[in-house]
């Protein structure tokens, strides 16, 4: 079963614009991770934020986590056509090593 819901399901923007994707989850977590997937195949790990962190940056990526609302957001600044992909949030819970993924946001960046 999917732990998280992502919003929006699909997003289309112009190159240079910012893209924001949101993730909500149901249970208490140890950490939340964001992954990117091109063409429905292998996933690439982007960033991990621990449950005691509120914000994290990596290059053009900014992730926030609000554990009281059980939600996270991924912001991609100054988007590029190469950012076109599906983005998934995944949660880790204490005592389990399996990740539970959301249903993903399909991002299209128009050149």
């Amino acid at each position: 079963s999917q732990q998280g819901e992502e919003d929006p399901q699909a997003l289309s923007i112009q190159e240079g614009e910012n893209a924001t994707m949101n993730c909500s989850y149901k249970t208490s977590i140890n950490n939340l991770q964001w992954y990117r997937q091109n063409s429905g195949r292998g996933l690439v790990h982007l960033i991990l934020i621990r449950s005691n962190e509120r914000e994290k940056h990596s290059g053009r990526l900014r992730v926030t986590l609000d554990t009281s609302k059980k939600s996270s957001s991924l912001l991609i600044t100054a988007s590029r056509a190469a950012d076109t992909a599906s983005y998934f949030c995944a949660t880790g819970i204490t005592g389990r090593r399996a990740l539970t993924f959301g249903s993903g946001t399909r991002l299209q960046v128009q050149p």
Binding site: G42, L43, G92, R96, R97, T100, F101, S103
Partner: protein, 115 residues
């Protein structure tokens, strides 16, 4: 450096047949995971190995699914009496030690189609 590799990349089989999917993790990674991804969905966990043992097989949907990792490296996911509903991309991932915050590195997946 080699990443996680999976073979075959595509597998087409007929309903009722037996299939084996192989995963070769990153060298030295002790933790190995199998996930299944249906079209338009996120990956769903199947099984997690720490070394040679299955530490968590709670995601296996039924007893037609079985996985092994006899030498703590390569793993094989085995599906008996395949059904059309088994059609999906099967993803394998490995991580260095299986810690809660270890990055899981994913392979390209095997696309299984059951006719």
């Amino acid at each position: 450096g080699a990443g996680v590799s999976q073979t075959p990349s595509n597998k087409v089989t007929e309903k009722g047949k037996y299939v084996e999917l192989r995963c070769d993790p990153i060298s030295g990674h002790t933790a190995l995971y199998w996930y299944r991804q249906s079209l338009g969905q996120g990956p769903e966990f199947l099984i997690y190995f720490q070394g040679t043992g299955a530490a968590d097989d709670s995601g296996l949907p039924n007893d037609r699914f079985f996985a092994v990792r006899p030498e703590g490296s390569v793993s094989t996911l085995k599906i008996q009496r395949t059904e059309r509903g088994d059609s999906a991309v099967y993803l394998c991932a490995s991580s260095r030690s299986g810690g809660a915050t270890d990055t899981q590195y994913f392979g390209p997946g095997t696309r299984l189609t059951v006719l």
